[in-house]
């Protein structure tokens, strides 16, 4: 793997939060390389800086120092419009709390990234249907999020993250609000997406067993630093 250039290269990145006099270093001089097609799990105790790192890589936040290269482009060099474009075209995101817009039907929620990317209307409905079929929610397209179960909502959010055909999928504790069986379903779905679409997945999780079962690689954070970093044997994925 090191022979090919990494998809994401986190290079000595720090992210400080200033609260009055004190400065909190949420991510502390962290370096990490992620290859295309990988399923990486970020583990660590609460407050260790997992979400902060994920947001930095997803272009939602900027590092205080250091550089993040994605497809050999430096995110720090992009202006806010360039970052928005990066999020729109290269990145899909899934959150712990689903974050489907309650005013819209599932279908409309999934269509949202297509609207933002100014995709033609005729093309949109096809892609929305395709994305919903992939997460097996085709029959629920007219329902509002409040009419869906937690697992269904997270699948809907996944469809929304996929509809723009991103290169990288970021998931911040996608199973955190779900019971273990539903969580497992979501992870199965993620791995299916990784396998069929060749997508790179980076997932933050608290649940080490789940990470060990589904991810290719595990990175462990503590106090904003990478303390452990290992690949799973392919056998473990069976």
């Amino acid at each position: 793997m090191p022979s090919t250039p990494p998809l994401i290269h986190v290079d000595h990145v720090s992210r400080d939060y200033r609260l009055g006099e004190t400065t909190i270093r949420a991510v502390n001089d962290l370096s990490l390389e992620i290859c295309s097609g990988e399923f990486l799990a970020l583990l660590g105790s609460s407050g260790s800086g997992k979400s902060t790192l994920l947001n930095l890589m997803a272009g939602l936040d900027r590092p205080t120092s250091g550089a993040i290269h994605v497809q050999e482009k430096n995110l720090a060099a992009l202006d806010s419009q360039g970052l928005a474009r990066y999020r729109r075209e290269t990145v899909g995101m899934v959150f712990q709390s689903f974050n489907l817009l309650p005013r819209m039907t599932l279908e409309e929620n999934v269509e949202l990234p297509l609207r933002l990317a100014e995709i033609d209307r005729s093309e949109r409905s096809r892609r929305v249907a395709q994305a919903l079929d992939r997460v097996r929610l085709g029959a629920r397209s007219k329902h509002r999020p409040s009419e869906l179960s937690g697992g269904e909502q997270q699948r809907g959010a996944l469809a929304r993250a996929l509809v723009n055909q991103p290169t990288i999928l970021f998931a911040d504790e996608p199973t955190g609000n779900l019971d273990s069986t539903t969580g497992e379903q979501i992870l199965l779905l993620l791995r299916e997406i990784q396998d069929t679409l060749g997508m790179t997945i980076i997932m933050v999780t608290h649940e080490r067993p789940l990470a060990e079962r589904f991810a290719n690689r595990i990175a462990v954070l503590s106090d904003g630093k990478l303390i452990d970093h290992f690949a799973m044997q392919t056998g473990a994925r069976a």
Binding site: S80, R85, R87, R88, N99
Partner: protein, 459 residues
């Protein structure tokens, strides 16, 4: 984001918080309505006033007198008039002068004042009353607005219009008089001896000759058909004297050569050539704005001229200030309404924080978020503006309706006090949209600047 998607999203957002957004929009509508109602009242009252003033004949008239020193017949002043008469011989205000005035541009009518006190016979009864000659240009005067019957069929028609009180003396049903005949019995003035009088070089000698019977008076009768009855006296504004009760076309009145109170002066003013002159002429111009030019032209010809335009001008100033204040109060309401928009949108930001975060996470630019809030503010402005103009127009109609009822109760004709011209409606809507967009400026930029990470963390 494309405009269509933007407006769809904005419309959806507005619909979702329908109650709050309707109330905000209603606030804009009330603001616009108050602005429109106030200004329509201003415009309406101004239109009404200038309409009335034009019709009153006060502001489109120039009053002309000769430059000759004025002296009544019974004057006890020094008898050496040559001492007080200006060196250059003042021009007489005679028929020639009258025709010259009539030929000036923008002059509608030139007429003397003809008024005499006489007897009117009707139905074997005799009534004493004032007869007044009415110029053709009075056709549009407000006094003839509520006429029962018709205005004179022509300027030489032997017809009469009666004033209502006088008509009531003739018959308990004034309206039934239309079409009937009355007979004027008047004293005709014969200027037989005017030539001889004119030969006298000394004016005072002329005057004496006149007083001792320079004119002979012959009793005459004239049949006139009643064509109309009016409530008020049209002459009140014309010469400033009023008091007419029987009105004739001025040409007819002139031909009667009826003896008038000011006849004596007329002959004195003959200027030595024996031609009759007028004590004063009234010149009616097309538009009050022509008054000054005509006034100047007449002064250049060597006559005294004056008009009430200065009064009209200060009236216009009063109305401009009045409009300004009405507009100011109306705008105040719209300003309050714009605070409502700001409040609603700022509330919406707090409420939709997470939504903004999601939009940004999905790739919305700051501009997309700003445009979305802007579109919502603009939409409230457009709807509020349209609704407000309608509401303002309705308020104006209601005011007009109310005033009309009140005026009717006082036996006065109804008036249109509120008037919404198209430019007022259009600019009110534009103003509402502009104010709404300005109100959306702060919330929109705040929403756009929202940090997505923090917005998503927010519970």
């Amino acid at each position: 984001m494309k405009l269509r998607d933007l407006s769809e999203l904005a419309a959806r957002n507005l619909r979702e918080a329908i109650l709050r957004n309707s109330l905000t929009t209603l606030g804009v509508a009330v603001g616009v309505a108050s602005l429109v109602a106030m200004l329509s009242l201003g415009v309406g009252l101004q239109t009404l006033a200038s309409d009335r003033l034009t019709k009153s004949g006060l502001f489109d008239a120039v009053f002309v007198t000769s430059r000759r020193e004025f002296r009544g017949p019974g004057s006890d002043g020094p008898r050496k008039s040559s001492a007080t008469t200006p060196k250059e011989n003042p021009k007489p205000l005679d028929e020639d002068a009258r025709q010259k005035f009539a030929a000036l541009p923008n002059v509608v009518d030139v007429y003397p004042q003809i008024r005499f006190f006489t007897d009117v016979r009707f139905d074997n009864n005799t009534y004493s009353t004032n007869v007044l000659g009415v110029p053709e240009s009075s056709r549009s005067a407000s006094a003839f607005d509520g006429i029962t019957g018709k205005y004179f069929s022509s300027s030489t028609a032997e017809e009469a219009i009666l004033q209502q009180d006088f008509a009531k003396d003739l018959s308990p049903q004034p309206a039934s008089l239309v079409g009937k005949e009355i007979t004027l019995r008047y004293a005709e003035r014969r200027a037989l001896s005017s030539d001889e009088i004119a030969k006298e070089k000394d004016i005072d000698a002329q005057l004496d000759a006149m007083m001792s019977g320079g004119i002979s008076i012959v009793s005459r009768e004239k049949k006139l058909r009643i064509v109309g009855v009016i409530e008020s006296d049209p002459s009140a504004g014309i010469g400033g004297f009023g008091g007419g009760r029987v009105f004739l076309p001025i040409r007819v009145a002139e031909q009667l050569h009826a003896a008038q109170a000011n006849d004596v002066q007329d002959f004195v003013r003959g200027g030595g050539n024996g031609k009759p002159t007028y004590a004063a002429l009234t010149i009616r111009v097309k538009n009050p704005k022509d008054v000054l030019k005509v006034e100047d032209a007449i002064k250049k010809q060597g006559f005294n001229a004056f008009s009430l335009l200065d009064a009209a001008r200060s009236l216009r100033l009063v109305f401009t200030v009045f409009d300004l204040f009405l507009g100011l109060f109306g705008s105040l309401a719209l300003t309050v309404a714009s605070l409502g928009i700001i409040n609603t949108l700022v509330m919406a930001i707090l409420e939709r924080r997470r939504e903004i975060g999601v939009l940004k996470a999905l790739g919305a630019t700051d501009g997309d978020v700003r445009s979305l809030f802007f579109a919502e503010a603009g939409a409230m402005g457009v709807v509020g503006g349209l609704f407000g103009v309608t509401l303002g127009w309705l308020i104006g109609q209601a005011l007009t309706y109310g005033t009309t009822i009140y005026l009717r109760r006082q036996d006065l004709p109804g008036v249109k006090i509120s008037y919404v011209p198209w430019w007022l409606a259009a600019s009110a809507i534009l103003f509402a949209v502009a104010v709404s967009l300005a109100a959306g400026l702060y919330p929109a930029s705040r929403a756009a600047k929202l940090n997505p990470v923090e917005a998503l963390r927010y519970e």
